[in-house]
């Protein structure tokens, strides 16, 4: 049956048997929408799979540039989910595939080449051992139309916080997905697609495209992003988000470092860039020492280097940023590991030593081998407690202790961390835009308490559940969550109708999000140690979380999700969500 919006086919590649086949998308699309939803469903069928999945709106609407990457995380043993934008996802769709599912393991390093109908597994002899940047340069030399997903040396060597690089900017960074790709001996996926993508109603799409674009470009987000890359480092400090060194609350040079970073970006920015189809232009193009590179500050990468690693000199911070990007390392985890190592006296923060230390992690040289296992394993090895979130994953660059909503999600999230659930959550900007945060809280859950970062209120839990659902919808539709949040769900439903021909209501969107969320929970209960907990260090010290109150929030979270007091979905919930067959 012909499908609109979806290409209708998912590519399955088994590296062990070197076989390639396609399966219809239709059997998953109705219940799980696309992207994050379908990927999680396929992971249930085969936990060995590494899944790249676009959504029905990928490549059709403004900011429809996203794709979800899902596999079992080598750090946590739970779902490692990460989303990416750029131009790879739409290229995959233009080649005629909704997604790629990679199973098995190659004997020798290979890369996968997808050009419309032609799919081949090629030897990666000449590129194994190269960094992610070098790999992209070699594979696309003379062929700028080719889009690449690849790992750097960190992924090859199984560094547990290696991500998958998509071009020189986008990275599916969290959860160690690069190590999964490395274990499969899959160096890269090359895509070139010329088949295009067909919407159900082109005229209607033209009109809803305009409406969505207008909604995005009239949003505060669009205005803010005008100088975002320049302002971001000082702003994140005003938000009181960062932690310094190994989870300290203060750093006397923070203000100064932020202003220096701002000046650095003022001087070196040469342009702005966006992902495919997106008007938000959240990338700054930076030219430094003869090299031009895009940087996105909104995920907090550069601020994390500046603050967590106490790097006052923005030029050094830039070199550390570039080092992590080029090796395909998750910046959030890397800074957490380096900061923890500094506490053990292994590396001096704010110094050039950091670059060498990261190099040793990438190569797994000496003690770098221990730190490459992630902060939890390293803390077990050295016997000094570290900070981590559910499953032992390094926390995001924001300190969770002063932001209770993010602490809750850090403890209960099943597919990636806070960044997969709480982007732009009002408690984060409370210290900068108090009224706006309160307005949002009142509008969504009818209680200003939910906007207070320190609040353990029940309204905060309801707010977090709602916000997480919106993220799941965005990740499953293939739309960037930043854009999704600027625009009423009603309009996305309208776009869904124009693109696929199927009507969907806001309630149905929400119910689908509930279904996908419970599906994620089921997977982790079945395959990993799914305890919802944070490292004990977060409950000690001067600034700390209240364990009792957090437990109370967790119980409420479970009940709102239709799970029992232990966080296990009830049979009734499964039946209601149409997941009865997985009970």
């Amino acid at each position: 049956m012909a499908m609109f919006g979806y290409t209708g086919r998912i590519l399955f590649v088994d590296l062990s048997s070197k076989t390639v086949k396609t399966e219809p998308t239709g059997k998953y699309a109705g219940d799980f929408l696309g992207g994050r939803g379908i990927a999680t469903r396929i992971l249930h069928e085969d936990p060995d799979a590494l899944i790249f999945m676009t959504g029905p709106l990928t490549s059709f609407v403004p900011s429809g540039s996203r794709m979800d990457v899902v596999a079992v995380s080598p750090v946590t043993g739970l779902i490692g989910g990460s989303s990416t934008g750029g131009e790879f996802p739409s290229a995959l769709k233009f080649a005629g595939y909704d997604g790629v599912v990679v199973t098995g393991k190659a004997e020798k390093p290979v890369y996968l080449r997808i050009e419309n109908e032609e799919v081949s597994i090629e030897s990666a002899d000449g590129i194994w051992g190269l960094s992610a940047f070098e790999t992209i340069d070699v594979l696309t030399r003379g062929h700028p139309d080719l889009k690449v997903a690849c790992i750097g040396r960190a992924g090859e060597n199984g560094v547990k916080f290696a991500g998958i690089s998509f071009s020189h900017r986008n990275l599916a960074s969290r959860g160690g997905l690069g190590a999964v790709m490395g274990a499969k001996k899959l160096k890269a996926i090359l895509v070139h697609g010329t088949r295009g993508a067909s919407p159900y109603n082109p005229l209607e799409l033209m009109s809803v495209f305009e409406e969505i674009q207008e909604s995005i470009t009239n949003s505060g987000e669009f205005l803010r992003f005008k100088n975002w890359h320049v302002d971001f480092v000082p702003v994140i400090l005003q938000l009181r988000m960062p932690y310094f060194g190994d989870y300290e609350r203060e750093w006397e040079k923070a203000e100064e470092a932020a202003m220096k970073a701002k000046k650095f970006f003022e001087e070196h920015t040469v342009g702005r860039a966006s992902c495919f189809s997106c008007p938000l232009r959240c990338w700054g193009i930076v030219s430094y020492r003869g090299e031009t590179l895009p940087i996105n500050l909104c995920q907090g990468t550069f601020p994390a280097v500046t603050f967590t690693l106490k790097v006052e000199d923005p030029e050094l911070a830039w070199r550390i940023y570039r080092k992590c990007q080029s090796e395909g390392l998750d910046m959030m985890a890397t800074v957490a590991v380096v900061a923890y190592a500094s506490r053990l006296g292994k590396v001096r923060l704010g110094s050039e030593e950091i670059l060498d230390f990261i190099e040793r992690i990438v190569k797994r040289e000496g003690e770098g081998d221990v730190f490459a296992e992630g902060v939890k394993k390293a803390s077990e090895h050295f016997g000094v407690p570290a900070v981590y979130v559910k499953g032992g994953m390094e926390s995001w660059s924001s300190d969770v202790r002063p932001f209770v909503g993010s602490a809750l999600i850090s403890a209960v999230a099943d597919s990636g961390g806070v960044n997969r659930a709480l982007y732009g959550f009002p408690e984060f900007y409370y210290y900068v835009k108090k009224e706006q945060a309160e307005k949002m809280a009142r509008m969504f859950v009818g209680d200003v308490e939910a906007a207070y970062p320190w609040s353990y209120s029940e309204s905060k839990v309801r707010f977090a559940v709602l916000w997480e659902n919106l993220h799941i919808i965005a990740d499953s539709l293939g739309v960037c969550v930043i854009a999704l949040l600027t625009t009423p769900l009603k309009l996305w439903a309208k776009a869904f109708k124009a693109v696929t021909g199927e009507g969907i209501t806001e309630d149905e969107f929400m119910r689908t999000a509930e279904r996908i969320r419970t599906l994620e929970r089921l997977f982790n209960l079945r395959h990993g140690d799914g305890r919802d907990d944070l490292s004990p260090r977060l409950f000690k010290g001067e600034v700390k979380l209240d364990r009792e109150k957090l437990e109370g929030m967790k119980r409420l979270y479970y009940s709102l999700r239709g799970w029992d007091e232990n966080g296990v979905p009830t049979r009734e919930t499964l039946e209601k969500l149409g997941l009865g067959d997985l009970a």
Binding site: S59, P62, G196, P202, M206, Q213, C275, S277, P279, T292
Partner: protein, 150 residues
């Protein structure tokens, strides 16, 4: 007919122009079927399309005399065209393209006077300039391009 002028310094490389061009002309989203193309690699990007040249190389090279100016837009006569693609080779900006799916030459037709790329560009990088103003505006565009004007 209006002309299109690109202020390339503001382009963010989002490819929206390609999306709406292929969508409005072919009913699909496919950058390969778009009459406007975004060029560039790692760094900055900008779109190019047929500039409606005065002494157009495409028209001069065509062995079948299939390319003619009609109402201010250069069109290809599909009946006369033998798909030799000489026009794609001589065009200095790559403004003529071959649609391998429908086997025909495609090029910017200014959407009959209402260019969709200009309408949808979120950064307003593509400017629609009315006919009578073209010579000056275009010269200014070229000067800005080469940094000789503010």
């Amino acid at each position: 007919m209006p002309y299109l002028i690109v202020h390339e310094e503001g382009c963010i490389g989002c490819h929206t122009c390609e999306m709406v061009c292929s969508l409005s002309h072919e009913g699909v989203i496919n950058p390969d079927l778009s009459r406007i193309h975004v060029l560039g690699y790692k760094g900055e990007k900008f779109p190019v399309m047929c500039l409606q040249c005065e002494d157009a190389p495409c028209e001069l090279v065509c062995p079948m005399e299939a390319i003619h100016m009609q109402n201010g837009v250069r069109m290809v006569d599909d009946e006369k065209c033998i798909r030799c693609k000489m026009c794609t080779l001589v065009c200095p900006v790559g403004g003529v393209l071959y649609d391998y799916i429908n086997n025909k030459m495609i090029r910017c037709d200014l959407c009959g006077g209402d260019p969709q790329c200009a309408k949808y560009c979120p950064m307003n990088v593509i400017e629609v300039v009315q006919d009578e103003k073209v010579p000056e505006a275009r010269k200014r565009g070229v000067r800005v391009l080469y940094g000789e004007a503010d």
